[in-house]
Symmetry: C2
Subunit: 355 residues, 2 copies
């Protein structure tokens, strides 16, 4: 293994920058990319030297395993610039760890810490002008790995490419988020890959989500596939339910992604003396609570949207509107979290890491 | 929609051929490709003109949806050359239909019949020297579609690429096939994408299959993810169980691929007066039958291997060896099917289609 001899990143700078053509006030999520990308190939059982180079399309074999068998994983993170122009990452160790867990589940090689962490740092450093100051602004970081090896036989690839691309972002969701509780479709199987950030998990949700969109709902809250009685998570968010003054979220499992935002919400709730219980909430319980008025809030938690309050849910064709609260848990947690991320509040948890 | 105005395929011929460098006697499955490929792009809500051109790598955007969200589907088919040098497809209508079902489930556009069928025919015609005569030889056909549109937001792509690549093949499995019955891992969820030939379904199986390989087993027989009590299918094959003189195979469902080989096996069994029952076989039933000697055969059925007899299975660390039969159902069906496919027997079903 040469992974511990990987201690250098080659940098090939772009001769021009697109930055002046970007309207940072009107970004749609995930569409604009910075001038450079990191590329690191895995061949013959080892990782090659990582290279930062101009952002550009690259050549793929028609029989590349990622096209046929979906061997692909990713992470989603953000970098924030504080008032002193320092740039901060939020719990990058968690994303690195989860990335390699996903890799193992998808029979892909683990990425060395140097390539992931130092890759992120050097790439962000080169693109620091792309990180805008001010609450709500961030640079979205997308490390990912794809199977590049050829061959139309259903077996793990022998070649992989790890990449990092960066996209300036404003907040992810806008407007009201109304959800449907899944009654038929599912996102993950027992003994499946739901806990991995694997590409295939996401496209599986597109069709059911399209059907939900057509009915006027933005997202689906997934339930366990065996019984459809337990509330699990949303498309790219973990979910929290507040019944009276207690906040609930499902325990992580093989079916549920172990979200960094989720675990941070739990820690903030504990520190700030909110009642928090990690246990499955049943659909029936939710409907009952909505009917008797004890259901106060539902919100999603994930890197892209941070905290995304949900305004109502539909179950078996019945729609339940949530109350509009002045001092919601969602607001408190969102403010606390974004203040920590943006270095506007003291980071008592030690979550932020300076680039 | 311009799909019905698609009535022409552009052909750009390769100036050289690799065919003389290919050792047709020693092919490993899915590694060698012919000189040309078909490419058809979908943009702005419509399919563009299909092009047959030299087989070569192509450029992809780093943020292409297939890399991040796994929007990718495929088909697997074979072409056979008879003694008169005519080339035949086996039930291509079934693959075309299934392809578009997979497309719908993955929120991808349906591919027009002309592009799929005429694309296959013209491409194979151009590559007819690559279809070798003789039982066991075939040209493996791989139509597939990937999401090429850019953007790291979990939503369906706006751009797609449909392709066909061809690979000369000999039989897929060699040697004994021993299987493990899945006790923990699963391939598909209720309400999931198991019935679609979606890329993500396959990489999900790599890690469990690797663990099985390490224990000396080639394949896993998947069980239902909720209870792990029902026998469902193998990695890229449907499965049949013969108990006494009755053949059983699971009904297709949301979790099981509706295999073309499977339905052909059922039809052959019926025609040839074998007892066949389409119903779920329970794991306990299988173990019981193995113990009391009524379990006669297990075999997989799929395009790549056609019929793949299984020599034994492991369940809860116990190994059950199957008897070696002289006149197995597997042998009868394999011969019948390959004779039809290779035009060595009359095709009373009307399954074969001449190119
Ligand atoms: C399925 C799923 N659940 C939850 C989350 C939230 O995880 P995190 O807070 O680490 O972004 C994500 C990622 O964004 C996700 O893709
Ligand atoms: C999961 C799965 N099951 C079964 C099969 C068999 O289907 P067919 O007979 O159409 O090749 C395949 C395809 O090869 C498959 O991928």
């Amino acid at each position: 293994m040469t992974s511990n001899t990987l201690n250098e990143i080659e940098i090939i700078k772009s001769s021009t920058s697109k930055i002046d053509s970007v309207d940072f006030q009107n970004l749609t999520f995930g569409n604009v990319f910075t001038d450079h990308m990191l590329v690191c190939d895995y061949k013959n059982g080892q990782w090659e030297k990582p290279v930062i180079k101009p952002y550009a399309p690259f050549l793929m074999e028609p029989s590349a395993k990622v096209f046929h068998y979906g061997q692909a994983i990713f992470e989603g993170m953000k970098a924030y610039k504080d008032k002193n122009d320092d740039i901060w990452l939020f719990r990058p160790d968690q994303n690195f760890e989860r990335f390699n867990k996903s890799a193992t589940r998808m029979a892909m090689p683990e990425v060395p810490e140097f390539v992931f962490m130092e890759g992120l740092k050097q790439l962000i450093n080169l693109e620091k002008d792309w990180v805008q100051k001010g609450l709500g602004n961030s640079l979205y970081l997308r490390p990912f790995m794809i199977a590049t090896g050829p061959g139309v036989i259903a077996a793990p690839s022998q070649q992989y490419r790890f990449m990092i691309i960066l996209s300036p972002a404003k907040s992810y969701y806008s407007g009201e988020v109304k959800v449907i509780i899944a009654e038929h479709f599912s996102r993950a199987a027992n003994g499946g890959i739901g806990a991995a950030k694997a590409a295939g998990n996401y496209s599986a949700q597109f069709y059911p989500t399209k059907l939900a969109n057509e009915k006027g709902f933005q997202q689906i809250i997934w339930t366990d596939d065996a019984t459809h009685t337990k509330l699990e998570e949303a498309g790219t968010m973990n979910v929290f339910f507040r019944i009276n003054d207690t906040l609930y979220t499902a325990p992580t499992s093989e079916r549920i992604l172990d979200g960094v935002t989720r675990k941070s919400v739990i820690d903030i709730a504990k520190r700030d003396n909110l009642n928090i219980e990690v246990r499955s909430v049943l659909v029936d319980e939710l409907v009952e609570a909505a009917k008797n008025g004890s259901l106060k809030e539902i919100f999603g938690a994930g890197t892209a949207a941070v905290i995304s309050p949900i305004s109502g849910f539909s179950y078996k064709e019945e729609y339940f509107e949530l109350p509009k609260l002045e001092n919601s848990f969602a607001m408190h947690i969102k403010q606390t979290l974004t203040n920590i991320q943006n270095k506007l509040a003291e980071d008592t948890f030690g979550w932020t890491v300076k680039i």
